[in-house]
Every structure is written in structure tokens, then in C-alpha cells.
């Protein structure tokens, strides 16, 4: 029996294995760190992420490699997303550090270990070629994130948010598992590439399959946070400690995008006409509700939460435009526009939440819109950075957000959904209002508090680089667009 057994090739999974080993090491090392600042833990975590990125880069072959009995896949899209993911988490940790060190109840090494484990989960999701691997990664990420949200035990808001996130997340996982079981029932396999093959050969029970698809889409929609599976987003973004919000708002979006590609494109591409229509409904609802509800917010974290909902809706527009009347010519272009949108959104969103962390200090959260009043008087430089972020999110030309929207709209128009493009632009216009309101508050209102910005030099430097990246990628978007396109071409 064992003679058929093939020892799995560990190289494609080397980044994951490295991060796992290091997470264990850091967990133990941190037990013996006594300092409040946790400098060692922080440094080790960052080194791990850098090492992980380096390994990802070095082991990248550009070929599609399967391992662990085809449960795990390493392709260019996975490598690229993992690199972006590592980079994002590194930046997030730099921003988060000052905030965490200032708050006794959060100054624990567990934060860093949980971040690493969540990152591991996301990487597993990104590389999943099996429905169970995908589920495993998803749960690994989710459980770590639940714990992170609740890390500040003394805050009732945070624990409430964690509770909601956990219960709703469990519900969504249940839906996803149900969908997985239906797909298994219809096709007789859990391996994503084989699901695709089974569908291509026909002879599957379409009813069960489509029902399974609905549940899978629901699970994906929960992770992305699109209407009507978005309800957790505002409460969790608002309730969680800001560094955790920053983390949730950035890295998991990349993993969720990979989930969309793996499940819907790699696995169920045959059903594209069906899931495109489902996603279209979700996308339009998200853009509408996200943008309209954001206007009514006074808390900037909550506002950005609704903004995230609308952005995810916009991103889905690209996924919607892949196949038109059985013609998949534009599919790669459409999906790569979505990927570009996602990456651009993550870069911008990291800078946006980073600004909140920059203004926060011990005993002061800076998460109200009013806290941004008169920022220009306190620090013209960071006011301009925040303006860049807001304008980019609003999709105003020459920032990266504009090109992201532009690319997606181009795909939508190419697919012939003119009305959808017009609706998207209209909702973006509504959305521009609340982004510009932040700009107005910063430049035209008097500051409520004149305290100088206390953040550390590394945060300031990195945040400036981040803001400039948003601006520069708007001027030079081609490289990133090209990367996304190549990654998808070589992986699908």
C-alpha cells in the first residue's frame, strides 16, 4: 500500500513552513521576554515576515506546481499575492507597534504570534487547490483574527465586536462547508482542478451544484464583506482596537480575492454565468449601501468600514465582466483589473488606517472624524498624505484609486454592461462626498486639539512612503497592472 505513497515536495510550501516554525519559536521566546515594549518579539516577527517574503520570492518558479497530493498549489498569482501580503503585514505591524506598546492590556506577545498565524492561514488559502485546504486556511485565519479582536479584554466594545464576528463567522463557515459538501455531492471530488474537470465533462447534477454555488458565494461574500453579508464589518471595524482594524481591513482582503479566484474561477468557471449574476447583485447592493451609509457616519473607522464595503462591491464588478455570452476572451483582463483594484485598495486602506494610528496616543483613539479637524495646522505634511489617501479612495485622477476604478470600469464596459458602469460611477460620486468631507475637515476647520503628533520616526517615515506610493502608483500604474496581468495569465 505504502509503495504508492509519494513523499510530498515541500519546496512549494516552504514559505508556509517557515512561518509556522517561526510562529512556534516566537511563541516560546516571548514567554521569556520580560520587557513591556516586546522589542525582541516585534523584531523576530518582522524578520520572519521578511524571510517569508524572501523565500516566496526565491522559490517562485513561475510554473504551476502542485504538492501534498494536489491539495496545495504554488503558482505566480499565489507568489505575488503572498508577497503583497507579507509586505502589507510588515507595514501594518510597524504602524501598530506604537499603539500596542502604549496600552497595557494589549502589550502582549500574543498579538504578534496571532498576526503570524493569521498570515499563515491566509497563505494557505491563497495556495489552496482543495476545498478542505481552503477551509483549513480560512479557519486558521478567522480564529486568529477573532482572538485579535478580543485581545483588549477590558474593552466592552472590543469583546462585543469579537463575539459578533465569531458567531457570524461561524455561521458563514457553516454556509461555506454546506456549499462544499454540495459541490462534493455533485462532482464527487474536493480537489478544485478536478471539480473543474468534472464540470467540463458534464453529467453532474446541476441543481445541487447551483445550490452549492449559492452557499459558496455566501461564504465568499462574508469574507469580502459585501451586502447582505456585510453586517459584521462596521461593528468589527469600529469595535476592534485600531491596529487590529488595520490588519482586518488590509491583509485578509488579499486572501479573500485569492479565494474568489480559486473557488469561482479555478473551480467553478463552468458556472460563470451563474455566479457572475449573483456577484452582480451583491456588487450593486454593496456599492449602494456602502456609499450611502458611509455618509451618515461620524466615526472614521466606521466610515472606512462602509467605504470598504463599497470598494469590495466595486472590485467584484471586474469579476462580473469575465464571461459574456459564453465568450471568455476578456476574462483575464477583467480578473486582473479586479486584482489590481484589490492591491490598490489594500495599499490605500493601510495608509488610511495608519493615519488614525498616527494621531492616536495613550488614552486617545483619534477615531472620530472631528479628530481630523485642522490637521493641516498641526502637520501639513500628514494632512496632505491623508488627502492623497482620501482622493485616491474617491477615485480622483492621478492617484492609484483612479486607475483601479478605471481598469475595472474598462472591463465592465468591454463586457457590455454600460448601465453597470454608469451605476458604479454614480455611486462613486456619492462616495466622493464623504472622502472630500475629511479633506475639508483637515484643511478648513480649526483643530480641536493642538497636541503635536507623537508617533515614532519609523511610523512617520513609513506612512509618508505609503502615502507617496498611493500618489506615485497613480502616475506609474503600468508596472503593477502588468504584474497582476502576468500573474493571472501564468496561473489560470
Amino acid at each position: 500500500m505504502l509503495t504508492n505513497f509519494v513523499i510530498p515536495d515541500l519546496l512549494p510550501a516552504a514559505p508556509e513552513l517557515f512561518i509556522l516554525a517561526m510562529a512556534c519559536v516566537i511563541l516560546i521566546v516571548d514567554l521569556f521576554v520580560k520587557s513591556k515594549a516586546r522589542t525582541l518579539t516585534f523584531a523576530l516577527t518582522q524578520l520572519t515576515l521578511v524571510g517569508c517574503a524572501a523565500i516566496t520570492y526565491m522559490t517562485s518558479t513561475g510554473e504551476i506546481t502542485y504538492t501534498f497530493s494536489n491539495m496545495f498549489v504554488d503558482d505566480l498569482m499565489a507568489d505575488l499575492l503572498k508577497l503583497f501580503l507579507d509586505l502589507t503585514v510588515i507595514v501594518v505591524l510597524f504602524y501598530a507597534r506604537g499603539y500596542i506598546a502604549e496600552r497595557v492590556s494589549m502589550a502582549k506577545g500574543e498579538f504578534y504570534v496571532l498576526v503570524l498565524l493569521a498570515t499563515l492561514g491566509m497563505m494557505v488559502m491563497i495556495s489552496a487547490n482543495h476545498l478542505l485546504t481552503l477551509y483549513l486556511g480560512l479557519e486558521m485565519m478567522s480564529l486568529s483574527v477573532y482572538a485579535m479582536v478580543a485581545l483588549n479584554r477590558d474593552s466592552t466594545q472590543a469583546t462585543e465586536a469579537a463575539m459578533k464576528y465569531f458567531v457570524l463567522g461561524a455561521l458563514a463557515s457553516g454556509l461555506l462547508l454546506y456549499g462544499i459538501s454540495m459541490v462534493y455531492g455533485a462532482t464527487g471530488t474536493l480537489e478544485i482542478t478536478q471539480v473543474a474537470q468534472a464540470l467540463a465533462q458534464g453529467a453532474v447534477n446541476k441543481t445541487i451544484l447551483v445550490f452549492g454555488l449559492v452557499f459558496l458565494v455566501a461564504g465568499i461574500a462574508f469574507k469580502l464583506g459585501v451586502v447582505p453579508f456585510h453586517m459584521w464589518i462596521p461593528d468589527v471595524y469600529h469595535g476592534a482596537p485600531t491596529p487590529v482594524t488595520l490588519f482586518i481591513a488590509s491583509a485578509p482582503k488579499l486572501a479573500a480575492f485569492a479565494m474568489v479566484i480559486r473557488l469561482l474561477v479555478n473551480g467553478l468557471f463552468f458556472l460563470a454565468p451563474d455566479w457572475q449574476q449573483m456577484l452582480m447583485i451583491l456588487a450593486v447592493l454593496s456599492m449602494a449601501i456602502g456609499n450611502l451609509a458611509a455618509i451618515a457616519q461620524t466615526n472614521i473607522k466606521r466610515m472606512l468600514a462602509y467605504s470598504a464595503i463599497s470598494h469590495m462591491g466595486f472590485m467584484l464588478l471586474g469579476m462580473v465582466s469575465g464571461v459574456v455570452g459564453g465568450d471568455a476572451r476578456f476574462a483575464l483582463n477583467a480578473y486582473s483589473s479586479s486584482m489590481f483594484y484589490m492591491v490598490a485598495y489594500v495599499i490605500t486602506s493601510v495608509a488610511g488606517f495608519g493615519m488614525i494610528l498616527l494621531l492616536a496616543r495613550a488614552g486617545f483613539e483619534a477615531d472620530s472624524l472631528d479628530d481630523f479637524k485642522g490637521l493641516n495646522k498641526r502637520s501639513p505634511w500628514f494632512a496632505s498624505m491623508m488627502m492623497v489617501v482620501m482622493l485616491s479612495m474617491a477615485g480622483i485622477p492621478f492617484f492609484v484609486g483612479f486607475f483601479a476604478k478605471f481598469a475595472v470600469l474598462q472591463a465592465v464596459v468591454a463586457a457590455g454592461y454600460m448601465w453597470l458602469a454608469i451605476a458604479a460611477v454614480l455611486f462613486s460620486l456619492i462616495g466622493a462626498f464623504y472622502y472630500l468631507r475629511v479633506v475639508k475637515l483637515m484643511y478648513f476647520d480649526a483643530p480641536l486639539d493642538e497636541t503635536p503628533i507623537a508617533a515614532g520616526f519609523d511610523t512617520k517615515l513609513l506612512l509618508s512612503a505609503n502615502g507617496l506610493a498611493v500618489a506615485l502608483l497613480g502616475l506609474f500604474p503600468q508596472t503593477l497592472m502588468y504584474l497582476c496581468a502576468v500573474a493571472l495569465v501564468r496561473s489560470l
Binding site: 449559492v214 453586517m231 451563474d274
Partner: protein
């Protein structure tokens, strides 16, 4: 370094300087601001010389540096077209800019906005270089708008003065009118040629020469004519041609160095450059060329008249600039593009010289700009005096000076032109010669010769421009008994450096530029239809012969009599001008009000716009937009937000319920299909 990086270095070096001086203008010391910017411009200048050598050796370049975005088949790119026309402009821009940078150290010494100023002029240099080096319409337009922006910023540089704010608003609005035409022209080009790339458009132009388009009704319009006139309207705004000239005299509210750099030597010539660049298009439409010719001739003559009655030293030079821009435009209209560029170049040097000379006088007079308070400055400011004299001689077209060669060529070109309006233009430029000589030397005599009128404790220069003259702290003037003295070396060195080309550049450049093959393959002239250059060549027998021959032409004697008359009026019998002023008060009032252009604009356009605005405000904004759309949509948004809030109750079972409803709806929808 390969050539492409060199090309990039030319605009980027001033940009780097501008960024250093601009972003850190509050923290860095003054010496760093001017060192950084001057270094940047000096690098650009030296690199331009290197590129000039390379281009002279026969190389040229037309390529994309960066593709900014592609939409369907349209590509929007940043690219360079380096040929002899470009490199000529690059040399003019960087050399004058370098001189002006140096000069600014002296001129702005006491100004609190020192660093800001340096940042602006470096930014201007960058924008202007991007404009001239462009190989496509989009970058041209971006450069066009960028120089407009910097010009706007600099006119309003002393932003606490209401007059400066008024002037920069005016410049801004008038230029919008021109730019509207310009962008319409670019739009037409994009729509019918399908590309914004010069080379592609020019290659396709002959096929479309006879194409007609429908604008409204059933009348057919020649595409070329409409497109060229639209483009030229852009040039009229930027190069201040009648009737869009009104902003340029007021732009003198800005500091003098930028009057020299932007409003005399470079930016205002962008329109001339643009038309010369578009010569393959303009050559295809005689109507457009006639239009250009008539507008240019009108500007050349009638703006000259206005120079006669000005008392502000800078305004005299400003009106002279307007008039000279008219000359260049006339040359364009006569299909003598190379002559226009030639005059552009000589004019850049001597006009910058005159402006900087005027600035030096202003420094000496402690920022008093009224010529009636000057006189006899020759003794006190010898370098300024001699260089200004050189500038004036060049301007009026004294043989062997730079201006002579270019201006005489223009006049001859017009004489040889046969398109509609050429007769009128010939008359205008001939009369213009006399006028130019008269007002130039009126200024010269009033400032440098005659009675010393400064240092009297009157300062009652509430003359004719009470509300337009600089009002506050910059209007000191000399205290009683105080004597003016020569300006520091940073001011006089640029004067000397600019005086040299003002004398010799025409002599050197006329033969290769006009009659050699310098512009071959760059400027396209339809030799059959417009044989002006060929005829001109026929009359040309070398630079020296041309100058010697000049004595026998009416042009020379017109200029001479202009100088003589001004000497008689302002040195010999100063009572005569006053008598004339009294006798012909009607004409004087007409000129003093600048032909009522400003009044007309204020009443008709500004007043009309205000009326329309009020109507739209009351009817459209307050009632419709505020009442229905803004408040209505705000109420709608509020209502929707409250619905969303109702669902976002905070109860976990509501949330779960929403999710499950979502799944049910999707299931129901797809159950029907499956």
C-alpha cells in the same frame, strides 16, 4: 549617459530644484534655495548645449519616455521630440531662465517670499521645457496649463495687494478663453486623426486637407481651418493677441524677473512656438493663415500706440512686448515660420534685457516705477544705462543689432506674401516700426537723460493709473536728496550677459536659420502656395550686405525718425507732448483706456457673466440644485442611511437573519433556473 537620459535630465533638473525650494521653503535657508534652483537650471542649460551639439550633428529623436495610459486605441504618453526647433527653444528657455535666476538674487533680496519665488521660477522652467520638448498634443497641453498656472501664481506673487490679485484673476480668466479654443482644437485633432502624436498627425494631415465637417446646420466647414483656428485661439490667449491681450499689461503686477522670463521671453512665445510646430497643419489652410496674419498685424500696430502714453516703466516694455508678439504672429501668418522663431529668439534676449534693465532701474529707484520721477539716471547707473541702450537699439531694429535682422525679415516676408490681408499687415508692421522707435526712445530719454526728477518729496503719482499701480509697501521711491546707485553684480552680470546676444545673435543666426537647412524637415512650408521664404532667400546676400542695404530702405528711416521725434519731444521741447495731449484729448482718452477693451470686457463679459450667474444662482442653484438636488438628495441619503442604521441594529440575530435572508433570496432566484 545615453541621449535619452540627457533629454530627461533637462526638464527634471529644474523640477528637482523647484521641489527642494518649494516643499521645504519654510525651513531651508535662502542660500540653499537659490543654489539648488540655479544649479538645476544651470544643469539644464549645459545639457541643452550638449543636446544642441548633438542635434547640429544631424541627430534627432522622437520617442516615448513613458506611456501614461492607453484607452482603447488612444494612447496618452509622455514623450520627447528633439529636433532643431525644440533645441532652439530649449536653449532660449534655459539661458534666459538662468540669467533671471541669478538676477532674482539681487532683485528679491528683501522679499519674505524669496524661497517661494525661486521654487516658482524653477517650476516654470520645468513646465516650459516639457511644453517645448513634447512630441504629442497631450503633453503640450499639460505644459501649456502648467506654465499658465505658474504665471498665475507669479502675477499674484504679492498676494496681499488687491491689484495683484485682480491681475492674476484676469490673466487666469482670459487664458481660460484661449485654452477653451485650444482644447477644442486638440479634441478635433484627436477625433479626426485618431492620435495625439505629432508625427502621426502630421503624416496624416495631407489626406485630410480637403475634409469638411458639420458644426451646425448644413454648412460644411473645412476641418483644417476649424482645427487651426481653434488651436490659434489658444495661442492668442497665451501669446496675448488682440482681443485676448488684456491680461499681459496687468501681469506687470508680478515681480520684474518674471516679467522678463515669463511675460516677455518664454511663456508668451509658447503660442508662436506652437503654431510653428503645427506648420504642417496651418499650411493646409489659407483661411487660417489669413486669420493669423490679421490678428498679428492688429496686435503689432495698435498695442504699439498704447506704449506711447504709459508712464509706468514696466508697462511701456509690456506694450512693446505685445507689439513684438504681433510681429511674430504676422510672420507665422505669412508662412515665414522660421522667421517667427528667429524673431522669437532675438526678442527673448533683448526683451529680457530691457525688462531686467527696467528692474535694475526700479531697484535703483527703490521700487518707484513711474518714469516721471526718473531722469538723468545715466550718471548713477552706467551699466544699466548702456545695456538698456543696447536693448532699445536692438528693439527698434538698428542695423547689425539682433532685432534688425529678425524684424526686417518679417517686414520683407509680409511684403512678399500674397494671402488675403497681407496688404493691411504690411502697412501695420511698417507703421509699427515708427511707433516702436518712438516709444522705446521716449522711455530711454525719460529714464536716463534730461532733468533729474527723483528725490523730490512729492510722490503724487496719482496719475492716470491710480487704481492699477502698486499701492503699498513696494512703492517707496527715493527719499528727498537720496541718489540712486548702480545695482549689485548679480543684477548687472545678467544684463551684460543678455546684452551680448542682443547685439550679435541676429548676425550669427540669420543665415543658417532662415536660409540654410537648419529647419529642414522640422517646419513645413507649402512652397508652391506660399513661396515667401524662397523669394526672401532670393533677396538675401549675406548679413553684412543686408545691414548696409538697410540704410536705403524706408524701414530704417521710419525707425530713425521715431527716435528723432522722441528726442525732440522729450529732450528738446517737453511742452509739446503736453500740448498734443490737450489738443487731441479724444485720442488720448481712447488710448488711455486701452481702446476700452477692459471696459468692454468688464461690462459685457464680466457683467454678463455676473448677470447670468445671478440668474443661475437664484433660479438654478438656490431653487433647483440647493432646494431639490442638494437638500433633496441629502434628505434622501439621510433617509436611506436611517434605514441602513435600522438594520445595523447591533443585535447579532438581526445580522445573522440578514445573511440567511440573503442566502434564501439567492437560492430562490436560482432555484427557478436550475
Amino acid at each position: 549617459m545615453d541621449m535619452k537620459s540627457l533629454y530627461l535630465l533637462v526638464p527634471l533638473a529644474p523640477l528637482a530644484g523647484a521641489i527642494v525650494a518649494g516643499l521645504f521653503c519654510r525651513v531651508i535657508p535662502r542660500w540653499l534655495a537659490h543654489t539648488a534652483t540655479i544649479l538645476g537650471v544651470a544643469v539644464a542649460f549645459i545639457t541643452s548645449i550638449v543636446i544642441f551639439q548633438d542635434v547640429l550633428a544631424g541627430n534627432s529623436f522622437n520617442g516615448t519616455v513613458y506611456q501614461w495610459l492607453a484607452s482603447g486605441e488612444y494612447k496618452f504618453e509622455v514623450g520627447f521630440l528633439i529636433d532643431k526647433l525644440t533645441v532652439t527653444m530649449m536653449l532660449v528657455v534655459t539661458s534666459v531662465s538662468l540669467m533671471v535666476h541669478l538676477y532674482t538674487i539681487g532683485y528679491m533680496q528683501e522679499d519674505p517670499g524669496y524661497n517661494r519665488f525661486f521654487s516658482y521660477i524653477s517650476l516654470f522652467t520645468f513646465s516650459m521645457l516639457m511644453l517645448v520638448m513634447s512630441n504629442n498634443f497631450m503633453q503640450l497641453f499639460f505644459g501649456w496649463e502648467a506654465v499658465g498656472l505658474v504665471s498665475y501664481l507669479l502675477i499674484g506673487f504679492w498676494y496681499t495687494r488687491p491689484t495683484a490679485i485682480f491681475a492674476n484673476m484676469k490673466a487666469f480668466l482670459v487664458n481660460r478663453v484661449g485654452d477653451f479654443g485650444f482644447i477644442l482644437g486638440i479634441g478635433l485633432v484627436l477625433a479626426h486623426f485618431g492620435s495625439l502624436d505629432y508625427a502621426t498627425v502630421f503624416a496624416k494631415a495631407p489626406e485630410l486637407a480637403n475634409k469638411t465637417i458639420n458644426i451646425w446646420g448644413s454648412a460644411d466647414w473645412s476641418l483644417m481651418t476649424v482645427a487651426c483656428i481653434c488651436l490659434f485661439i489658444g495661442a492668442m490667449g497665451k501669446s496675448a493677441q488682440v482681443p485676448l491681450h488684456v491680461w499681459l499689461p496687468d501681469s506687470m503686477e508680478g515681480p520684474t524677473p518674471i516679467s522678463a522670463l515669463i511675460h516677455a521671453a518664454t511663456m508668451v512665445t509658447a503660442g508662436i512656438f506652437m503654431v510653428a510646430r503645427m506648420s504642417p497643419l496651418f499650411e493646409l489652410s489659407d483661411t487660417a493663415l489669413s486669420f493669423v496674419l490679421v490678428i498679428g498685424a492688429t496686435t503689432a500696430l495698435f498695442m504699439g500706440f498704447l506704449g506711447i502714453i504709459q508712464n509706468d516703466i514696466k508697462r511701456v516694455v509690456a506694450y512693446s512686448t505685445l507689439s513684438q508678439l504681433g510681429y511674430m504672429t504676422v510672420a507665422l501668418g505669412a508662412s515665414a515660420y522660421s522667421v517667427a522663431i528667429f524673431h522669437l529668439m532675438t526678442h527673448a534676449f533683448f526683451k529680457a534685457l530691457l525688462f531686467l534693465g527696467a528692474g535694475s532701474v526700479i531697484i535703483g529707484m527703490h521700487h518707484d516705477q513711474d518714469m516721471r520721477n526718473m531722469g538723468g539716471l545715466r550718471k548713477y547707473m552706467p551699466i544699466t544705462w548702456i545695456t538698456s541702450l543696447i536693448g532699445s537699439l536692438a528693439l527698434i531694429g538698428t542695423p547689425f543689432f539682433a532685432g534688425f535682422y529678425s524684424k526686417d525679415s518679417i517686414i520683407e516676408a509680409v511684403a512678399l506674401s500674397n494671402i488675403a490681408g497681407a496688404k493691411y499687415a504690411y502697412f501695420a508692421v511698417m507703421a509699427g516700426v515708427f511707433i516702436t522707435a518712438f516709444y522705446s526712445f521716449r522711455m530711454y530719454f525719460l529714464v536716463f537723460h534730461g532733468e533729474e526728477r527723483f528725490g523730490k518729496a512729492h510722490h503724487d503719482h496719482h496719475g492716470d493709473h491710480e487704481d492699477e499701480e502698486p499701492a503699498d509697501d513696494h512703492h517707496h521711491g527715493l527719499a528727498p536728496g537720496q541718489k540712486p546707485h548702480e545695482s549689485p553684480w548679480v543684477v548687472t552680470v545678467p544684463l551684460i550677459a543678455l546684452a551680448i546676444p542682443s547685439v550679435i545673435i541676429g548676425y550669427i543666426a540669420i543665415e543658417p536659420m532662415l536660409f540654410g537647412d537648419y529647419f529642414k524637415g522640422v517646419i513645413h512650408v507649402n512652397e508652391e502656395a506660399h513661396p515667401v521664404m524662397e523669394a526672401l532667400h532670393h533677396h538675401f546676400h549675406g548679413a553684412v550686405a543686408m545691414a548696409l542695404h538697410a540704410v536705403t530702405t524706408p524701414v530704417f528711416w521710419l525707425a530713425f525718425s521715431g527716435v528723432a521725434l522722441s528726442w525732440f519731444f522729450y529732450m528738446k521741447r517737453p511742452d509739446i507732448p503736453a500740448a498734443i495731449k490737450a489738443r487731441f484729448s479724444g485720442i488720448y482718452t481712447l488710448l488711455d483706456n486701452k481702446y476700452y477693451f477692459d471696459k468692454f470686457n468688464e461690462v459685457v463679459f464680466a457683467g454678463g457673466a455676473r448677470l447670468l450667474g445671478r440668474g443661475l444662482w437664484k433660479g438654478g442653484d438656490v431653487a433647483l440644485i440647493d432646494g431639490l438636488l442638494v437638500n433633496g438628495s441629502a434628505r434622501l441619503v439621510g433617509a436611506i442611511a436611517s434605514v441602513v442604521r435600522f438594520f445595523q441594529s447591533g443585535y447579532i440575530y438581526h445580522y445573522a437573519f440578514t445573511m440567511i435572508i440573503g442566502v434564501f433570496v439567492l437560492l430562490t432566484l436560482w432555484f427557478n433556473r436550475a
